[in-house]
């Protein structure tokens, strides 16, 4: 359970969240709202990539604003933009991220192969990232998030830049993990989720 209590956040004079209180339980929660409302910001706060100005964000009762090290061991986060290191292969990238998640070599190899196969990237795993298209990079960013079988998955626009068939494959993968995990995601392609069961959390955004 990921819980936000009295969270306030903003940039300079622009307030984005004021006294935000909510809980995200196991299963998929889709964050919706107009552009600029703060969907990605909310995901960054929940992923401990950014620190809220005040309030508490807790994972299983532990405030991750105070200490995020325990939470990060069970987190899989795929931000909207990753400046990938261009001159290493996708396989090396996944190995590095897996290593930093303290996975064993066997775990990384097994899990990478499974995820890359499901995302149709297994044939391209040896390619340098600079040769990846936008859609391939999106799937690679997603693949690293699944390493370590995280209990909390935070995915920012995981199906952007993907064709409908690949987006369907990605959604299948995400929803297959949702029984064991808290999944937060944003998407502009909510129509593609019609066959799945999910909750919706609407971010309204506050004027500056």
């Amino acid at each position: 359970m990921l819980e936000l209590k009295s969270v306030n956040h903003g940039y300079k004079k622009q307030i984005i969240f004021r006294d935000l209180n909510t809980r995200f339980a196991k299963g998929v929660t889709v964050i919706t709202g107009p552009s600029g409302a703060g969907k990605s910001t909310l995901l960054r706060l929940c992923a401990s990539a950014e620190r809220a100005k005040s309030g508490a964000i807790s994972w299983q009762g532990h405030n991750i604003r105070k200490s995020s090290s325990g939470f990060r061991k069970v987190l899989g986060y795929a931000p909207q933009i990753i400046d990938f290191p261009e001159d290493i292969s996708a396989q090396d990238f996944l190995f590095h991220i897996g290593a930093l998640k303290s996975l064993s070599r066997d775990q990384i190899v097994t899990q990478s192969l499974e995820i890359l196969t499901r995302l149709n990237l297994d044939q391209d795993a040896q390619k340098l990232i600079r040769n990846y298209s936008g859609g391939m990079r999106r799937r690679l960013g997603l693949a690293q998030a699944f390493l370590g079988e995280p209990e909390c998955l935070i995915l920012d626009e995981p199906t952007a830049e993907l064709d409908p068939i690949t987006a369907g494959i990605v959604n299948d993968l995400i929803f297959s993990k949702s029984e064991q995990s808290v999944v937060l995601m944003t998407t502009h392609l909510a129509d593609h989720l019609s066959g799945y069961e999910y909750r919706e959390f609407k971010v309204e955004g506050l004027a500056g």
Binding site: S69, I82, D83, S89, H96, L100, I108
Partner: protein
Amino acid sequence: MFGSVSTFFKIQFGRHLRSPALWIVLLGAIIGARYMVPLPDANYVTLAVNNAYPVQTSAIMGMQLGIVTALILTPLAYIFLRAGPTRRQPWQIEDVTPSNRMAMTIGQGAADTAILWVAMLFLAVAGIILSVFRLPIEEVKPFHTLLTFVLIAGPALAFIAALRTLFNARPWLRGAWGDFLFFVIWMAGVVIAAMSFSEGGSSPFTDVFGYAAAIDGATDEPISSAVIGGAPATEDYINLDALAGTTNTLFLMSRLMWLGVAGLLFVLSALIFKPRKFKQKIRGGMLKKLTPGLDKVGGIVANPLVTISNVFGNPIRSSFNQLLKPRYWALILLVLAVTGGALPFRPGTGGAIMLVLILVMSRQSGVWQAPALRQFMRTLPAQKWSRLFYEIAAAMLLAFLVCLPAILRAVLNGNIGEILPDFVFIIGIMPVAIYVLGYLTRTGLTGRLIFLFIWYGYLNL
């Protein structure tokens, strides 16, 4: 055309002005000026000619500042431009706009030159303020300080901005080879001008940094030695006419010529510009066919060596493996390691090993530093300091393995004591410094350039 130049100038100049790095540079320039014009009782000099210190005047202060800026601060200026806020350009958009490439290059190049000149003027003002404290008030002539300083440093800094623009023009110059070429050009510029002293006179037209010609023209005496930044054991003084050295016709014409060279380099950069590619061909196709096993060398070497635990071992293995990409580095390092076991370490083999390790480590030190990647990496369980530790440990391991045959050779020959400092530096100090610099400046360029200068010093030990 002019409107486009103006637009690109404004954008680039504005980015420089908004950068915190600029204010650090300006602050550093003001504080640095204090040390570029040493106190009479200081245990160092910035300039000594024929083993004598120049008698301080406003013009001499300007000349000292100009020489130090043109010689020592130009590499820092290059780092500021190349690794500074404007290193990331929206090329994916810029390259497909209908805007004129010439206008873009000249506008951006002019902005780079202008920002370096702004820093130069800050330094000049600091020099003028210093002259008030260091000279009798009736001898303070701010215009003399400004003139001698600007005439030496101005064209040198424009030349640096032009090199930066030129090195953005071609794909192979955009990375480490561009930095290496800068180092070669800088060194050649210093050495060619210095050689003219030994040949009995200086030609300002071969002196891009203007330092030798300015000193040469400042005295009628034959110059037997000139020391910049050293400390000759003497209490003698020499009268130098810095104004004469920097305002004679030949010197002024040469400075104009070097400004013109900078301008031509901007134009050349636009003419030879090759756009970046969204997808680049994988390099080393032939090598890949000839050496299919090289891609796995990193893993093959690191796996048996690093088996401490998953927590430490895997990240070090991963970092080690990345150090040997592209694959030709593995081959080059292998050849160097074998050579180290067969030939004397100092200076040849050691120099070659050090140079390749500098290029490999500095490149890798910047790979994981892009802003969005760093933000994402912060969400991983491994803390940033431990990630830095893994990278440094992998680099140390690589340096140790490459040096190992040379170490064994030195032990067997009984001269390990003589070259132990070399090994300590290459294996222990260099990886730490390069990676910390990479982490702090978010680019491998700073470490690469600084260690190329250290490498040059090492060759001359």
